[in-house]
């Protein structure tokens, strides 16, 4: 199965929206909709990602459309950048493949009161310290150990459990999606093997596209929203991208294995085995959701501990407590998750199971789930770019509630396979190229750096342009990396 160009239908609806008609494949229950502009749509046609959008439309109970954000790329089962909402009242299903192996992979961003000029002259030493202190890379274990009852409490209470451990503040919890804890998590639904994989990895970055970056705000687009977040041009921030580590991968793998027989049992016909699913209202569906929520809670605790270690490193480096550096968490978002949420479908308010596979929640101002601080501006949406280019902070907009079940994009989206990226980087010194752009990169191995080099990704600014113009989320600030830690 190699990469082939998508030759199916893709009809332009408006400047930023394309449609795969419901009659493209028999078995599709709704149409496919892809957010993109003329420039991105050509890249999107280059592989089978649109086919995957059509395949997701087979899921029982799917509402309105199988949706894809402009950072869509070819995944396994679901495309990356996909959003699908199913209604349990109509036999709607939950699919572990619609969340992915890295359950609650997500991003958080912390501001500081440091300015670019305070940090730039010392960036090399700062990155050396961060590289030393932040556990990263394959098989790396952290300084924290959670087993037995402690791990169960962590799985049940997520980042909120860390309040009692002294590794989180109330403000951190307030500024985390779901307040860092999903209700309905059941540690007993998580296998002993998954728990074993999780006991020494909470507070570790992992490898692949996960990173910690020191960034500088380069441009402000919405001054009021930026002020509310404590951002101005030149503000130094830290962005952290990681997920639920081996525990989450195991929860997903266990679930897919347990669901092997479910499609036959519930009479569900699927075009790809990776889309395996069970009705939300079935013992299998409920068990997966309980385990997935526990893994999601683990991921929030993981990012909280990564941030805590970052604060400690900054405090040591700058010789003052992190509180006086005002290292406040702006927000933390999940971009691989399934959640029961209330949305308007036609003239009804329905509680649907929203799968976001490489997509970010994007709730607008006034939504009850948006923290008080952001009630007037909308939920912060954090879009990591790649090592050499910008990352973005946006805020959720009302149109996301009307069109995409409160969702927007999650990142740049790959254009080169890892293999191709390495070929592309052959003979080049990626760390030196980054250094020439003023970015200090620390990585365990060169191959890891090559796989993730900037040319491997779409230009995140093009992706952000589309969601901004389509009204799903609004630009607040663009940030530029000055230091990168990768696994």
């Amino acid at each position: 199965m190699a990469s082939e160009r998508y030759e199916g239908p893709l009809e332009q609806v408006n400047e930023y929206l394309w449609r795969i008609p419901v009659n493209y494949k028999s078995g599709m229950r709704v149409e496919g909709r892809i957010y993109a502009d003329d420039r991105l749509v050509e890249q999107i046609r280059a592989d089978q990602a649109p086919e995957q959008v059509a395949n997701v439309a087979f899921l029982p109970g799917i509402q309105v459309a199988s949706l894809a954000m402009p950072d869509i790329h070819w995944g396994y089962g679901f495309c990356i950048g996909g959003v699908a909402a199913t209604d349990p009242e109509e036999g709607g299903v939950v699919s572990p493949g619609g969340v992915g192996y890295d359950i609650n992979c997500g991003v958080r961003i912390v501001r500081t009161n440091l300015k670019k000029e305070d940090v730039l002259p010392k960036i090399d030493n700062l990155m050396n310290l961060l590289f030393q202190r932040i556990p990263a890379g394959v098989g790396e274990e952290g300084p924290y150990h959670y087993a037995d009852k402690k791990l169960n409490r962590l799985l049940e209470d997520g980042a909120q459990y860390l309040l009692s451990e002294g590794f989180a503040t109330e403000a951190d919890i307030e500024h985390t999606e779901e307040r860092g804890r999903m209700d309905g998590a059941d540690p007993d639904a998580v296998s002993p093997r998954a728990k074993q994989r999780g006991q020494d990895q909470c507070g570790t970055l992992g490898s692949g596209n996960h990173f910690l970056e020191v960034q500088v705000v380069e441009e402000i687009f919405d001054p009021e929203a930026a002020r509310t977040m404590g951002l101005e041009e030149g503000t130094v921030c830290v962005m952290i991208h990681s997920g639920s580590r081996g525990l989450g991968y195991q929860v997903c793998d266990d679930a897919i294995k347990e669901l092997r027989q479910a499609p036959a049992k519930y009479g569900i016909s699927l075009p790809d085995r990776q889309l395996v699913c069970a009705p939300v209202r079935s013992p299998e569906g409920q068990k997966y959701l309980a385990a997935m929520r526990a893994a999601a809670n683990y991921a929030w605790a993981n990012r909280q501990l990564l941030m805590w270690q970052t604060r400690e490193a900054f405090a040591e480096f700058f010789g003052q407590p992190w509180e006086s550096l005002q290292m406040n968490l702006i927000y933390d978002v999940a971009h691989n998750i399934a959640k029961m949420e209330k949305h308007r479908v036609g003239d009804k308010i329905k509680e649907v199971c929203v799968h976001r596979k490489g997509a970010t929640r994007s709730f607008p101002a006034g939504h009850p789930d948006v923290p008080e601080r952001y009630q007037k501006i909308g939920q912060p949406v954090i879009i990591p770019g790649d090592m050499g280019r910008s990352s973005w902070i946006l805020v959720g907009q009302p149109k996301s509630m009307e069109e995409t079940f409160g969702s927007t994009c999650h990142g740049a989206g790959r254009v080169l396979s890892r293999h191709a990226a390495i070929q592309h980087a052959r003979g080049r010194k990626i760390d030196q190229e980054l250094a020439a752009k003023g970015i200090v990169a620390k990585c365990r191995n060169w191959k890891g750096l090559a796989e993730e080099h900037p040319d491997a990704y779409k230009d995140v600014s093009l992706v952000v342009d589309v969601v901004d113009k389509a009204g799903l989320a609004k630009k607040v600030a663009r940030l530029r990396p000055i230091g990168v830690v990768k696994g």
């Binding site: 396994y76 089962g77 890379g137 490898s207 294995k257 696994g487």
Partner: protein, 160 residues
């Protein structure tokens, strides 16, 4: 014989072998060579046995490679040499004794393919072995295992 193929965010493995046993062994070698860059230098100094069951060959291949991933994650074991044997068994389909007692006719049997394997390898020592990219999972997307005129072919996509 194995090779890797491109899949945008992930990595595919294509394996060909004359026998099914060799196909599973080569698949294990292919995965190990992704996990450790200088895999050919891994010393076969530790031994581990594995037994797995699945209702079809594709699932068994998935479970076998997933088991190797877990051994790598939990015990830091990198396999260098693999010996795979197969067996076939019929599992009686069970239920609560009171229900089973009321059942008439022959017991329902579920055919199971059984894999028994011995793995020889070493612990991942970063001073000696260079880890490759993190493999999150063995996916079912595009999973193929089929008989061909000259032997067997399998394709597996890894989530990186």
């Amino acid at each position: 014989m194995y090779e890797t193929f491109d899949h945008t965010a992930d990595l595919g493995l294509r394996i060909q072998a004359e026998t099914l046993e060799r196909l599973f062994e080569e698949a294990a070698e292919a995965l190990s060579s992704v996990l450790v860059v200088n895999w050919e230098q891994v010393r076969p100094v530790l031994q581990k046995s594995v037994r797995l069951e699945a209702s079809n060959w594709e699932d068994l291949l998935h479970d076998w490679l997933s088991e190797l991933l877990v051994l790598f994650a939990l015990q830091k074991l990198v396999g260098r040499r693999f010996e795979v044997r197969f067996d076939h068994q019929n599992l009686p389909v069970g239920g609560p004794p009171e229900a089973m007692g009321r059942m008439r006719g022959p017991t329902i049997q579920l055919p199971q393919e059984v894999l028994e394997a011995t793995i020889w390898g070493d612990m991942l020592d970063p001073a000696r072995y260079q880890p490759g990219p993190e493999v999150k999972a063995v996916t079912y997307h595009g999973l193929r295992l089929e008989k061909q005129p000259t032997g067997w072919l399998a394709e597996v996509i890894l989530d990186l």
